[in-house]
Amino acid sequence: MSKKLAGLTKFNTRELFGPLLTVLILSIGVGAISASLQLAVQFALCNLVMVIALQVFVGNSGVLSFGHGAFAMVGAWISGMSTASERVKGNALALQELWQPLVGFNLNLYLSILAGMVLGALIAAITGAFLMRLNGLAAGIATFALLGLFYNFFFNNITFGPGSQALPAVPKFSGVYEPLVLSLIAIVVVYLFNISATARNLRASREDLLAAPALGVSIQRVRWIAFTISGALAGLSGAMYVHVAGTWQVQDYYLVFTFLTLAMLVIGGSASLWGAVVGTLVVTAVGQILLLWEQGKSIVGIKLDLPNGARSLIIAGSLVAMLLWRFAGVTNGKEFSIPFLGKRKSG
């Protein structure tokens, strides 16, 4: 194939600040419009962190992972469990069988988020040590099995969590700024990783599984590093989500979440950080507009009365349509650039 290799190789201010400013301006701007949009922005930021977490691993390595929902699940679990008040944990009906040390286990908001990241990274590091030798579909199914295992465990276990019910009264973020700052930090981290030699080696292994090791790349090692970092970020995403939703429920981190975030990545273009940002933005925007139409409101003068349930149908339809239109994603796997400004790349 003669396609140009996508992916950045050296630090470029524009490629970093493009996504940063886009997220910053949109979050503050849209969040200022109304209270419900502000909440929507907070949820979108959680998804954004998950999508860039997926980009770090899936985008760079070309290996599909359905297992990241599990890392978000445990990240959210520890963050929610350690911040819900002792009174709630001791009295809630769903938590009667809760293991005693967990009832007294308390952290402040930021430490709990850090704990979510550490646990996400830890689980990813342990499982990754085994799973990273797998390629293609086997990797996809094995990571899916990981997700299924964690889901099945938490859904039925009432010693470590609320089982199929919800952990109530998790403290919420006070506004859009806390998740925003966390997302921006995540973007910087991912950008710095993506221009590192490790990420470049990983992308080499994505392009050719036989040539990369011949050039001295240990595929398992570079994949494992990326998997662990993206596990930490997925844990962060889950920890953010639990403080936006104010409750922890295992279902929130299962199939819908996994596929929605993967779809965002693929729609935006999985080969670049900018693609992850654009994909999250596009899918979220389409979803919000349709939601408003479903509620019978008008947007820029256009008012459609959508029947209930049509929204998900249209989102699914536009996902497929976007793939048919441009299968490498809206950004075609390119990083952020401003056309006609400054030096244009040749070729």
Binding site: A142, F144, A145, S312
Partner: protein, 289 residues
């Protein structure tokens, strides 16, 4: 004894679902999530046409499922050929959700139910052991279909082309296999297999909702990968193993049966680590793109 029979019958059902998925995967490397909706639509058709004789109702269901399968191929998958498995997988997931929502708009979100083939729910005694009729019928149907598929794949021109395409699609085309027709047939057959699965499932559980076929499809997907995606035999075997293990776990775990999936998924991870290409694969085989 009933436990073994149940396990075989569940394994057989999963094998049929895995076979439908494996067939399509073989010819175009597509993991077709929307297979679930083929199963669901055939179950819906059988519930809606329950007043008609069973055979006609089933034939209608097969026809609808096969047509829907071909339609998805023409409208979507054909244009995504050659974009890579990840993109097609995501597209098939989008399609799957889209179809689920369409069913919700057409049939409602609440389950539709009707007693399809009520005579199958009874049981009888033989040699001091109790058997349910449905598990026996399921095993019989599965064996019949597996034999028919075996004949189709091993003895007919279409089967030869399917096997050739699964081994090397490009070379098969160069040798004169008409790819569009072949892929279309694979989709049609997978639709018919889905309707057989739909029939078996709707007899066991007559409550059909938009997510009816999802569970078995996900597990059958797991099955085809652990069985060995490169061959139809591997796919069917993998599906069977998943269904069999699940049924046995459900019987013998007692109160811990809620964790049956955890054990199953753990087993899947271990099998894949030992044999990444599936149980029936040759060692050190690596898929080259």
């Amino acid at each position: 004894m009933q436990a073994i029979l149940d396990a075989i019958s569940l394994g057989g059902t999963y094998a049929l679902a895995a076979l439908g998925l494996g067939l399509v995967f073989g010819v175009m490397r597509l993991v077709n999530f929307a297979h679930a909706e083929l199963i669901t639509i055939s179950a819906y058709v059988m519930v809606v046409t329950n007043d008609l004789p069973l055979l006609i109702s089933f034939l209608l269901a097969s026809l609808v499922a096969a047509l829907l399968a071909i339609l998805t191929e023409l409208a979507i998958y054909r244009r995504l050929r050659g974009t890579g498995p990840a993109i097609m997988l995501i597209a098939s997931f989008g399609l799957s959700v889209g179809l689920q929502k369409s069913y919700e708009l057409i049939f409602g979100a609440l389950p539709r139910s009707a007693a399809v083939a009520p005579w199958m729910t009874g049981s009888f005694e033989f040699a001091g052991l109790n058997f349910t009729i449905s598990s026996l019928v399921t095993v019989a149907i599965t064996i019949a279909i597996l034999l028919a598929m075996g004949y189709l794949v091993e003895r007919t021109t279409l089967g030869l082309q399917l096997r050739a395409a699964a081994t090397d699609f490009k070379t098969a085309r160069l040798l004169g296999v008409r790819s569009n027709r072949l892929i279309g047939s694979a989709f049609a057959i997978s639709g018919i297999l889905a309707s057989a699965v739909g029939f078996i499932l709707v007899v066991e559980n007559p409550q059909v909702d938009p997510m009816f076929g999802l569970n078995i499809t996900i597990l059958a997907l797991v099955g085809i990968v652990i069985g060995g995606i490169s061959s139809l035999r591997g796919a069917a075997l993998g599906g069977f193993i998943v269904g069999f293990i699940l049924s046995i776990l459900n019987t013998f775990l007692g109160n811990a049966r809620v964790y049956a999936y955890s054990y199953l998924f753990l087993a899947v991870v271990i099998i894949l680590l030992v044999r990444p290409g599936g149980i029936l694969s040759k060692r050190n085989e690596m898929e080259r793109v």
